[in-house]
């Protein structure tokens, strides 16, 4: 960026403002200007607003006029038509309702919608618009106290349900003719309607194949004592809480022992395998050391996956590594972490701070060499330490590459040196370190093999107070 550019910007801005507004001086503005072009004047509307009051729309006379036009009372002809449809009591109620509402209130307070999204009716509830109106619940709500039928009850229910459809016809057939003639008109009408309904249903049923019909009769029966009542819901009623033969067979997946730490059930399998509690697993130091994006080349293209290597340690001599791959990062992360916890192995440590001797491990082209290191020296003079401070040991420390550092910290090794003379591949370095740590020689095993007694002189001289 050259020095000339800001200057050019400045000049052009000044020039532009000079040409745009020659008559009026630009207002002094100290706010930062983010544009090089001249600012526009404040925009004015091209047409003046005219208020309703100025137009005379809010006068009493105008309001009355509007009311008379918009909310006309029923004319005598309209009342005549209404009387044909409604009973006198309903007409009285209609008139009372009309008289209760002042049309002027409707003008001032009400709002007549004229937009394209207005409702297509004002008060016609004879029709339902599915997008607006709720579906009516035709049937009664299910009985909350319904219980399971016993075997005998289920058998009776099945037989009765089968014969229920025949009832109207039987009734029809059992009526003699002279009785029919003397019957009141309403009863005749009812019996006819029942018969029509029965014939219609049986016509529909005849169209359905026989096996389907019988299946429906047997399969779509409610097993509760709700008399096969129709329901508002398309879903079958849920099972009860304590079903005989089932209750007590299944355990709640959320274990109250976890104290709500693992409601997703992520650690449950691990808990069963390792015998650790969820709290213990959460207290482990788990860390992701290596991530790689890997591709699977298919004929449809490359499929990206995330490969993750994690370590887990309890900072007290146990360490594990886990590796997992998934197209989802979250999945591979949690898998790698859980595998690391699952693969935790005891690591042999000398004095709980370093390893036994020097070890070396090789994975691929990566060689990891680890050397045991002495404890640190007391960095305070003794008289000060003993008088004022607790014994403070600096220690040798972890003089190792970063990933190895994390591993040693996780398994509780404090004094160690390590180096990788050849390749430093991240994955192989972690694997080789784990191999080196787990393949340490056991001093006890060496002593037993040689038939000798092995003595650690650090624990022998000066009563073991050699630190």
């Amino acid at each position: 960026m050259s020095v000339a550019r800001p200057l050019k910007c400045l000049l052009s801005r000044r020039l532009a403002s000079a040409t745009a507004r020659p008559a009026t001086a630009a207002p002094q503005c100290f706010a930062a200007s983010f544009h090089s072009s001249a600012p526009l004047e404040k925009r004015k509307t091209r047409f003046a607003n005219v208020r309703a009051k100025e137009m005379g729309l809010l006068d009493d006379a105008a309001v009355d006029e509007f009311t008379k036009q918009q909310f006309k009372p029923y004319s005598p002809e309209e009342l005549e038509i209404l009387k044909k449809h409604y009973t006198p009591e309903q007409m009285e109620a209609l008139e009372a309702g009309e008289a209760a509402i002042d049309p002027k209130d409707l003008t001032i307070q009400g709002r007549l919608r004229r937009d394209p999204y207005k409702l297509p009716y004002l008060d016609d509830f004879s029709q339902l618009v599915p997008s607006i109106d709720r579906e009516p619940k035709k049937h009664a709500p299910p009985n909350p106290n319904a219980r399971w039928l016993t075997e005998e009850e289920a058998m009776i229910d099945l037989l009765m349900g089968h014969s229920k459809d025949l009832m109207p016809l039987l009734r029809w057939a059992g009526i003699p003719e002279e009785k029919w003639a003397t019957m009141p008109e309403a009863e005749k009408k009812q019996i006819k309607a029942e018969l029509q309904k029965f014939i219609k249903e049986h016509q529909e049923a005849a169209a359905v194949p026989e096996p389907v019909q019988s299946t429906k009769t047997f399969m779509e029966r409610s097993m509760l004592n709700d008399n096969n009542a129709p329901s508002n819901s398309a879903l079958a009623p849920s099972l009860g809480k304590k079903i005989p033969g089932v209750s007590g067979m299944y355990k709640n997946p959320i274990d109250p022992e976890d104290q709500g730490l693992d409601d997703d059930g992520v650690y449950q399998e691990l808990k069963r395998r390792t015998g650790m509690t969820v709290r213990q697993m959460m207290d482990l130091s788990v860390k992701i050391l290596v991530t790689r994006i890997v591709h699977n080349q298919t004929r449809l293209g490359k499929i990206r996956s995330m490969w993750i290597m994690a370590i887990a340690g309890n900072k007290n001599g146990r360490l594990g590594i886990g590796e997992a791959k998934s197209t989802e990062i979250a999945v591979s992360t949690i898998k790698a972490k859980l595998l690391a916890i699952r693969n935790m192995q005891p690591i042999r440590r000398y004095e709980d701070r370093t390893i036994h001797g020097d070890v070396e491990a090789k994975v691929g082209a990566t060689i990891v060499r680890l050397n045991a290191r002495p404890p640190g020296k007391d960095d305070c003079p003794h008289h000060i330490t003993s008088m004022y401070l607790p014994t403070r040991l600096a220690g040798f420390g972890l003089r190792v590459p970063a990933r190895l550092f994390e591993m040693f910290r996780a398994c509780g090794i404090h004094d160690i040196a390590g180096h990788m003379p050849r390749s430093r591949n991240p994955m192989n370095s972690v694997k080789a370190t784990f191999q080196a740590l787990t393949n340490q020689k056991d001093p006890n095993e060496i002593a037993v093999g040689r038939g000798k007694k092995l003595v650690d002189v650090r624990n022998v001289y000066y009563g073991g107070n050699v630190l």
């Binding site: 036994h356 001797g357 020097d358 095993e445 060496i446 093999g449 040689r450």
Partner: protein, 166 residues
């Protein structure tokens, strides 16, 4: 102490251990005998004995008497050694020579002291790595072949023969 058969003995014992052999034999000579005996004293070998072409019976070793040396038998004498294994792993896993016939490496007591403590030491240009956990080094001294710790105890330097590690 001749170094002529040192490399042969070391590599042969290492190979025999890798092959999980129970018994093996080396040529019968005084330098081999002294090295193998000190190995046995350290606990790497279960026994060392002179024998013929046929190995001794391991079950009857306590009563085993080598065949008498005659002009007819002396040429076929060998040193038979028993190899040790602990929890399915060889007790003696690797043997590496230090001195070669063309380049003997001698070390003074001060070097041996450092080596035995695990620190690098040795004559100039021939510095040896310190001993690791469970590792042994064999030194040929005027009092015979012995392990480095014994040499330090007896305050003697000598010719570094080989290092043996589990």
């Amino acid at each position: 102490m001749t170094l002529l058969s040192l490399a042969h003995v070391c590599s042969h014992l290492q190979n025999a251990s890798k092959a999980r052999l129970g018994l093996t034999s080396t040529p019968w000579n005084s330098s081999n005998l002294s090295l193998l005996l000190s190995l046995q004293r350290t606990g790497f070998l279960s026994f060392v004995t002179r024998g013929g072409a046929v190995p001794p019976d391991p079950a009857a070793l306590s009563t085993y008497a080598p065949e008498p040396l005659t002009t007819a038998t002396v040429a076929r004498q060998r040193l038979w050694v028993g190899l040790k294994y602990s929890s399915n792993e060889p007790v003696m896993r690797s043997l590496q020579i230090i001195s070669r016939p063309t380049r003997p490496v001698t070390a003074k007591l001060e070097h041996l002291e450092r080596l035995a403590r695990g620190w690098d030491s040795g004559p100039t240009r021939l510095i040896q790595r310190g001993l690791n956990l469970g590792e042994c080094m064999y030194v040929s001294t005027p009092k015979g072949v012995m392990e480095i710790r014994e040499a330090v105890e007896r305050k003697m330097g000598g010719l570094l023969l080989c290092r043996v590690s589990p």
